[in-house]
């Protein structure tokens, strides 16, 4: 009986942290989906996340207002996206390399700013869990099982999940989404119809980058309430992989993000419970999963045809 209870607690714990941990992946990967569907591979997500993470943290640290933190992360993300846009769209630099540059830039600058402006690891009071209380004592979050899974997250996490249908709707049902999809597939056709390909790509990259900034902030001011150097630790790169895993579709990205964060949560519990699996293997697990998923050949055919190809008019 006791064993069953413990098992139950563990499974619940895994599901709950799986949903929580999906938050930064969802923001970053949905953002990257927009960027890639328009034809721009932004490998710098990791760097943007770090910048968003720091500025989100710093704004809350100074003002105590988590909404200002979110706004700061969004604006920093937009600016980083603008830089990426100038380099890869206007100057037509090789996207993979400029993305790595963005990563290094974000990693270095966020560390430097942290050291000079904050110094030591400090905690902030960020977004707290909503709990959905009807009265002072009656909260939906306290409903057994379902409460913990569905009603015990911060607004930032709910936002991440709400973003998925929104992104799907924008991409597939709006005139803007049509332009984004077409720009990533055949920019010449888009240009020939009098649509500014560069403008479509700039907006997509900047929106994607702003979401990456929010993804970083979701870590520092929602999930953890602290900032550390290099705290994203590869999440941004994983987000890029999730876009491939999800075949450039928001719901595919959702499945990938949940699978990934689920495995991640699993490995945390493997470590917590000191099971007889080397923790290194457990830490590797999500990444192995990514590599296997990426190697599946059918996904490649869904790749936007003009991904990573700068657009230039009249080359023939």
């Amino acid at each position: 009986m006791n064993d069953q209870l413990t098992l139950m607690t563990i499974v619940l714990g895994i599901i709950h942290s799986g949903i929580r941990l999906a938050t930064p992946y969802l923001y970053a990967a949905i953002g990257e989906t927009f960027s890639q569907r328009s034809g721009v591979l932004n490998l710098g997500v990791e760097g943007v996340m770090l910048m968003g993470s720091f500025f989100g943290f710093y704004a809350v640290y100074q003002t105590g207002n988590p909404w200002l933190g979110l706004l700061a992360a969004l604006v920093v993300g937009l600016l980083m996206g603008l830089i990426m846009g100038v380099v890869s769209i206007t100057l037509k630099a090789e996207q993979g390399i400029s993305g790595i540059g963005m990563y290094m830039f974000g990693l270095g600058l966020s560390s430097l700013l942290f050291k000079t402006m904050v110094g030591s690891v400090e905690g902030v009071e960020g977004f707290s869990e909503l709990r959905f209380c009807v009265t002072d004592t009656l909260c939906l979050a306290d409903v057994p099982i379902l409460g913990d899974i569905f009603f015990n997250h911060s607004i930032v996490t709910y936002g991440a999940f709400a973003l998925v249908p929104l992104a799907w709707w924008i991409l597939n049902k709006t005139t803007w989404g049509l332009k984004v999809r077409a720009a990533g597939q055949n920019p010449e056709a888009v240009d020939s119809l009098g649509v500014n390909v560069d403008a479509v790509r700039y907006v997509s990259v900047m929106v994607g980058s702003a979401l990456a900034g929010v993804a970083g902030a979701s870590l520092s001011i929602s999930l953890l309430g602290i900032f550390q150097e290099n705290m994203t630790n590869g999440m941004g790169f994983t987000a890029v992989a999730l876009v491939y895993f999800g075949s450039w579709r928001p719901y595919g990205v959702l499945v990938g993000a949940l699978l990934f964060s689920g495995v991640n949560a699993l490995q945390l519990w493997v470590q917590v419970l000191k099971l007889n699996i080397p923790s290194d293997v457990a830490v590797m697990l999500p990444y192995l999963l990514t590599i296997v998923a990426l190697a599946l050949p059918f996904r490649r055919s869904m790749q936007p045809a003009a991904l990573t190809k700068p657009f230039e008019r009249g080359e023939n």
């Binding site: 005139t175 332009k179 597939q185 056709a189 009098g194 023939n316």
Partner: protein, 517 residues
Amino acid sequence: MTPDAKLLPSGLPRIESMEMRGIVKKFPGVLACDHVNFDVKAGEIHALLGENGAGKSTLMKILYGLYHPEEGEIILNGLPVEINSPTDSLNHGIGMIHQHFMLVDTLTVAENVALGLKSTREPRMDLDVVSARIRELAVKYGLKVDPNALVSKLAVGERQRVEIVKALYRGAALLVLDEPTAVLTPQEVEELFHIFRQMAADGHALIFISHKLDEIFALTDRVTVLRDGKAVGSTLTSQINKAGLAAMMVGREVSLSRERPDVTVGKVRLSLKGINAFNADGQQILKEINLEVRSGEIVGVAGISGNGQRPLAETVAGLQPVASGTVELDGQLVTGLPPARMFKAGLSYIPEERMHDGVVKDFSVAENLILQDHIHAPFSKGIFLDFKFIAKHAQRLIQAFNVKTPSRETLVKNLSGGNIQKLILARELARGPRVLIAAQPTRGVDIGATEYIHAQLLKGRAEGLATLLISEDLDEVKAMSDRIAVLFEGRIMGIVTSDEVSTEQLGLMMAGEAAAV
């Protein structure tokens, strides 16, 4: 006259006249358009004829707002207009059907049409409204299109119709048609011409770009010829003949007919038996191919682009793995051997993607002339290249094959398409092959160079070479070949004697009907 008489079937106003005056456009090192005048009126089909690089596309891209001219003006219905982008030209009622389809494969027909247009329900799309309007236009203009079809699933002819609908939907009163027939069967071309004639009769103004003389005579009212960026002549189509037009285009008299002297055919040099092959996606791209080419014979392969021509050429060249069947070169079984062994067995290969597969464009002319043979004598001694011999060899071939190049050290990327093709031809023929695969040897090559390449192929034939000539240009296949094999979806629909088959029969076979001969 009612006011309605001035409207097109699409309900939009006509463009009574369009005039381009004194257009000058410079690219680095080239004067692409040199004070060109051009005009077209409602109800008229005006041909723009010229070799590749003569400036036709540049002139039309200026009209469409993709390029900006250094000098000159565009006058619509008597008033000068500024056209700085495709948006401007579309707003003025000018539409363009591009040589390479400007369609997004992964979208539906309706989505392609709606792309970039304001919706009635912003920010949402209104694809039902768009579809209804497409159907309406389709009925008015006799264009069969299904708005819900995915473009990637459409045949080439259907895509062409989608392009026309796209332009009409945007209210095009003047349509620029940039080589619209390049990838169609003769029957599809006839159907398309019918549509164009109807559009002209309804009051549209059409500009038809082509380098195919037959099409000019079949379709157009007037013709203007461009050469080296200059308009060298403009006349009513009915007042000139083919030879006259060709001379205007090239700047000298050219021979349009090809004489195939009688040659005694010899033994079988190339034999394909029961070849089946698949592509990377597992689709069958060659089905039970049986084909023989004899010494002194040119066998043509006709078909619409993408029906197995490329895999067929690459099978013989050792680049396409075969699932079953045998390839014999000059009596040797070579199935599945790498290209180097094929070349050793007497094969020469002119690939269809000349810049991609035929030359290394950052190498010099001399280096490109020894791509296969640099590893053995006389081009190298041991591990060292014999540069003296290589230079002599290059000099000899440049002269013998009339390759126009500043020097043998010039990088190939700086040569014109026709000269690159002559260079490849020189390299491949100088190797003394017994079998030649010539894939699209004159595609995108000017009339002068085409004439020369054809002469060389016929010379090879007279000397006993077995040639497999793969071409999408039906006139070329008919004029050059002794026998013609027609490919459709990877299968040979029939092998016919070229002098006994009509273009119509070939067209039907290209569309998938078995040989009636």
